[in-house]
Each structure stands twice: as structure tokens, then as C-alpha cells.
Amino acid sequence: MQIIQPHYHAIARTAQDYEKMAMSGVVAVAEPAFWAGFDRLYPETFLDYFRQISEFEPTRAAEYGIKHYCWVAVNPKEAENPTLSHEVLKHMPEFYEKPNVLGVGEIGFHKTTKNEEEIFEAQVEQAIKYDQLILIHTPHLQDKVRGTKRTLEVLSHMNVNPERVWIDHVEEHTIREPLEAGYWVGFTLYPVTKCSPKRACDMLEMYGHERILVNSSADWGPSDPFTLQMCVMQYRARGYSVQDAIEIFHNNPARFLGQNPKFDIKPIQLETIEEEITDMV
């Protein structure tokens, strides 16, 4: 089955991951800009990183027949340094010109501080100005509710079109508000700390599958790109059809990301081919 992996940190993963993803039906990945595991000191370090995900990663993915897209941003953790962040922001528009850059992300809150908020707002404003899609990270664990609420408050005062905004890492306690406000939401499947494939299927059963994305977000930490395929398997095992699964794991990311015309993978529909039976003489 064809799958799109809408949130994937390829730079932290091996070629073998691309290979296995290709073999398990992944046709495209989208890579948001994220924290490297340490706070970077220079704006240039970010710009080289943006070059890595916008120039090098697409070539590596193409080796396996996978299309690679990316997002640029100062992530929530490093947004704690506003001077550095503003320097990086000055250069981000250059990257919107690149053929695989889809928008500004992942931005948002880590500890929900004033500095983070200033840089979050500045990046949302820039995304609106340059007509870019927006991908928002919500905090981990005990900070998630507070950070998600603040995210929605900040956005409500800004001139964003909710259909072009994806609020990621929602779980049972944070899904309702963003969905009701018209945003796209994402489930991040992690081995221990975020949502599990089973719980993701539960939420799909409870909330339907409109404006919902599922991703494994695999990065340099304990994570696994194949939690996404586990979720597909779990969903199918509950009796849903291949087309139902395609709607969630291929067509929804195609719909959301396809709002940027650079993302040219269209939703698909299974069809039975009526073959003519001819005499085999």
C-alpha cells in the first residue's frame, strides 16, 4: 500500500531506513527542521542544515524512489535564543524558493516561555507573508496541555487560515480543541513517550479521519519509522479497507501538503480493472 510519511527526520536516519520504507510502500517523506540534540551557536549552522535537508536529502531519498520534501524553521527549543533566531529568520525566505520546501515548521512551544512565543509569532507572520504552510510542534509530556492551549491562543490573534496549519503530536487530551478550531492535527507514533499505533487507531475511530495525519517522526532519539506501518497494520486488522487506510496514510498527507503546489503527489483511489477474457489458443 502506498504511504506518505509526513513528518520524518531523515538526517538522523540511515539509508537502510529509506530502503525499508521504500519496500514497505513509502512514496514520500517530509522533513521538518528540528533540534540537532544540542543548541546551535551560529545562524550559519542553521543555514547549512537547511541546505542539507533541502539539497542533499532529496538526492539520498531518490536513490530509493522516495520523494523528499522539507520545512525550514527555528525549532521551539532553540527559539529560546531570540537574537540567533531573528538572524536565522532573515535568511529563511531564500529557502522558500527551493523546489522541495513546503513551509515553516516545526515551530511552537517547548517550555512555553516568552522567548519561544516571540519567535513562534515571528515565524507564523513570516509564513503568512510568504504564503507558506505551517507545522506546529506541541510540547512533550506534562507540558503538552499548557503548550497546546497557548498555541491556540496565539494563533487565534493572528490572521492564519487554519486549513493551512498542522498542529502535531496531539494525543487524547489535546486533540479536540485544535480539530474543532479547524486545524489539521497529527499523531506522532513513538515507542514509549508519545502516541502508540493502537491509541492512534482509537482516535481515528473516535474522531473520523478528516484533517488527521499520522507520522512516526523518527529522529535521532529512541524512535522507529515503522511505527507508522504498525499503525496501518493495526488499522487494517480492525477491519477497515485498504481504501480507508489509503485515505489516512496517503491521501490526507497528499491533501494537506498538496496545498503547496510543490508537493505534487495526488490522492489516489483503488480501482478494479475489468480485464477482457480472450481465447488463449
Binding site: 487524547e172 514509549v192 513517550t193 502508540s196 493502537k198 491509541r199 482509537d202 475511530e205 473516535m206
Partner: protein, 78 residues
Amino acid sequence: MQTALQVLDREYLEARCSLLELAAALDRIDRAHDHEEASGDLQDSRLDLLNQAIKILSEESHLPNRSERLLLLFSDLD
């Protein structure tokens, strides 16, 4: 041997995850049951066992050997 704090550091997230999975599984059973035509109380001895196990973990949390007591609960002892 690790200190209690070190063990907690290592185990907290996994324990949290196990509890969430358990909560989600119980919700899943409830939701499926609510959809069924003849709902009412779901009678199944396995559900009773799960509820007894949860009681062992909560009400008797000061007692040791929780895993042993749970396994005995889930065992056929006759």
C-alpha cells in the same frame, strides 16, 4: 545496584506508557460494547481479572511482589 531514584528515572516513562495503554484498552472495550445492540453490563471473567489486578496495584500498593501476585491471579490454580 541502582538507587531507587535511578530506577524511577529509568522506568517512569515506560510505566506511564503501560498505564496509558491499559487505559486505552479498557476504553476500547467500553466503546465497542457501547456500540453493540444488547449493551448492559459486559460479563466476562477476564474483565473481572483485569479489574482485580488494577485493585491489587492501587489498594495494596504498599505490598511487595506485585508481579507475582498478579501472575497468581491470572493462573489456574485448581
